[in-house]
């Protein structure tokens, strides 16, 4: 195993151990009243399901329930899209709600302060202008910066709060730039670590976007010819537990 592989494995073991210590709580005993409440709730629901308040079995309810099921089955509607978790995953837990704005990113951004565009000095690119708004449309836009290396110009942009995923981020970037976006491919895994990245063009400008710990970032070549992939690879950090 390579050194980085050993390090990843070690990190993963530490995370697992940390979680075990967090979750393997041994209470003196689960609260009896909790069990009583659970038991009562289950029993009362079963009694309500086919019994009228008088305690009489309701054939009418059974017939109505059967009719609904037949209609749904006949209409070809799937009652469940999840092999593990059917309607519960849709309504009971709200787990299928769209991740509007991805609260995680918003929360991250809210508590983190400061920050600079990321290009390392070793890349040869020099920061020309940060917070460049001239390229972007009026109104709200992503934080951005311009870098220059000889006749090569690179736009960098990021988002940590509003994009649902990489494609959403890139699409919005295109809108802000006024360029049509074409995805060169779907989201790809960079390596076995499953770092996500996306290659695209904005107008005729090649770009690359990726997930970073704090959000989404993108490079866009505005002039010259830049090996975006190499540039990105030189700076990407990954925490790569085995799946």
């Amino acid at each position: 195993m390579t050194h980085s592989g050993e390090r990843r494995q070690r990190h993963e073991e530490i995370v697992r151990e940390a979680l075990r210590r967090e979750l393997d709580v041994v209470p003196p005993s689960p609260p009896e009243q909790a069990w009583s409440g659970i038991r009562a709730a289950i029993l009362s629901k079963r009694e309500r399901s086919f019994f009228s308040p008088g305690g009489v079995f309701s054939w009418r309810r059974l017939t109505a329930a059967a009719a609904v099921l037949l209609l749904l089955a006949g209409g070809g509607l799937a009652l469940s899209r999840s092999p593990l978790l059917a309607p519960l995953g849709r309504s009971g837990c709200d787990s299928a709600q769209p991740e509007a704005g991805d609260n995680g990113a918003m929360e991250m951004c809210a508590e983190e302060k400061g920050g600079l565009p990321p290009l390392a000095p070793g890349s040869g690119f020099a920061l020309e202008q940060a917070g460049e708004s001239g390229l972007l449309t009026e109104g709200e836009h992503y934080p951005a910066a311009l870098y220059r290396r000889g006749d090569e110009t690179l736009l960098w942009a990021c988002d940590s709060s509003s994009s649902k995923d990489l494609q959403d981020f890139v699409a919005e970037l295109g809108r802000q730039l006024g360029f049509e976006i074409k995805m060169a491919s779907g989201e790809r895994n960079y390596n076995q670590c499953e770092n996500l990245y996306l290659e695209f063009t904005a107008g005729e400008h090649p770009g690359i976007a990726w997930c970073e710990a704090e959000g989404f970032q993108a490079y866009l070549v505005l002039s010259g010819s830049v090996d975006l992939r190499a540039l990105w690879e030189s700076g990407v950090k990954s925490f790569c537990p085995a799946e």
């Binding site: 990190h11 993963e12 530490i14 995370v15 697992r16 940390a18 979680l19 075990r20 210590r21 967090e22 979750l23 393997d24 709580v25 041994v26 209470p27 003196p28 005993s29 689960p30 609260p31 909790a34 409440g37 659970i38 629901k45 999840s82 593990l84 978790l85 059917a86 995953g89 009971g92 837990c93 709200d94 787990s95 991740e99 991805d102 609260n103 995680g104 929360e107 951004c109 809210a110 983190e112 920050g115 990321p118 917070g131 709200e140 934080p143 951005a144 990021c158 940590s160 709060s161 995923d165 990489l166 499953e194 770092n195 996500l196 997930c211 970073e212 710990a213 704090e214 950090k237 537990p241």
Partner: protein, 194 residues
């Protein structure tokens, strides 16, 4: 509790088997909810609600041996919804040790063990600062050993969203282990912000 036994109990789904599942999973389910809510009474209520929902819908759980992970997903979703209703994002206060938790009281006899214990402590602190949706996928993968596709199905979200959340969470946890971090994205404070 072995997975086979979990599956058998979940399949039986009678009063006695539910009681046994309750006793086996109450602690960790409570801990999952508490990690998000940071409020004991709320965590108790959420845990109870999670068990009720799980038992009422257990026939829909096809892989019965994954009852624990499923229950944790229900509990953490309920906890997240509870926070939203209360208008809170999440709390990231100082770590509070739950009664009975393994607080890392292993006797360290070597320097390596001391360092490891320090790293575990830092990661535990970092875990407690994770946003709920990231925390949720982290426990699904690292505690319940679910695959990405399973997590996605369990939570009713796309595999891409799972990956994205895990990626961000891993970044935070990595920083706890390797403090020299990477880039921090700051929303533009210049004229562009609407």
């Amino acid at each position: 509790m072995e997975q086979e036994r979990v599956a058998r109990l979940a399949l039986q789904n009678d009063d006695a088997s539910r009681r046994e599942l309750f006793e086996a999973f109450y602690g960790r389910t409570y801990a999952s909810a508490y990690a998000i809510l940071r409020h004991r009474e709320s965590a108790e209520d959420i845990t109870q609600d999670a068990f009720i929902k799980a038992f009422q819908n257990i026939s829909q759980l096809r892989e019965k041996e994954k009852f624990g992970a499923w229950l944790a997903a229900i509990a953490t979703n309920l906890a997240r919804n509870h926070l939203k209703r209360e208008g809170r994002l999440f709390l990231s206060g100082e770590p509070i040790e739950l009664p009975g938790s393994a607080a890392g009281s292993i006797c360290c006899s070597t320097e390596e063990q001391v360092m490891r214990e320090a790293e575990i402590a830092r990661v535990r602190s970092a875990l407690r600062t994770l946003p709920p949706e990231q925390y949720q996928v982290v426990i699904m993968q690292y505690y319940y050993d679910l695959k990405l596709s399973e997590i996605a199905r369990l939570l009713g979200i796309s595999p891409g969203t799972v990956k994205s959340r895990l990626f961000r969470a891993r970044g935070r946890l990595l920083r706890a282990l390797e403090p020299e971090g990477g880039y921090i994205c700051q929303r533009d404070k210049g004229g562009g912000e609407g």
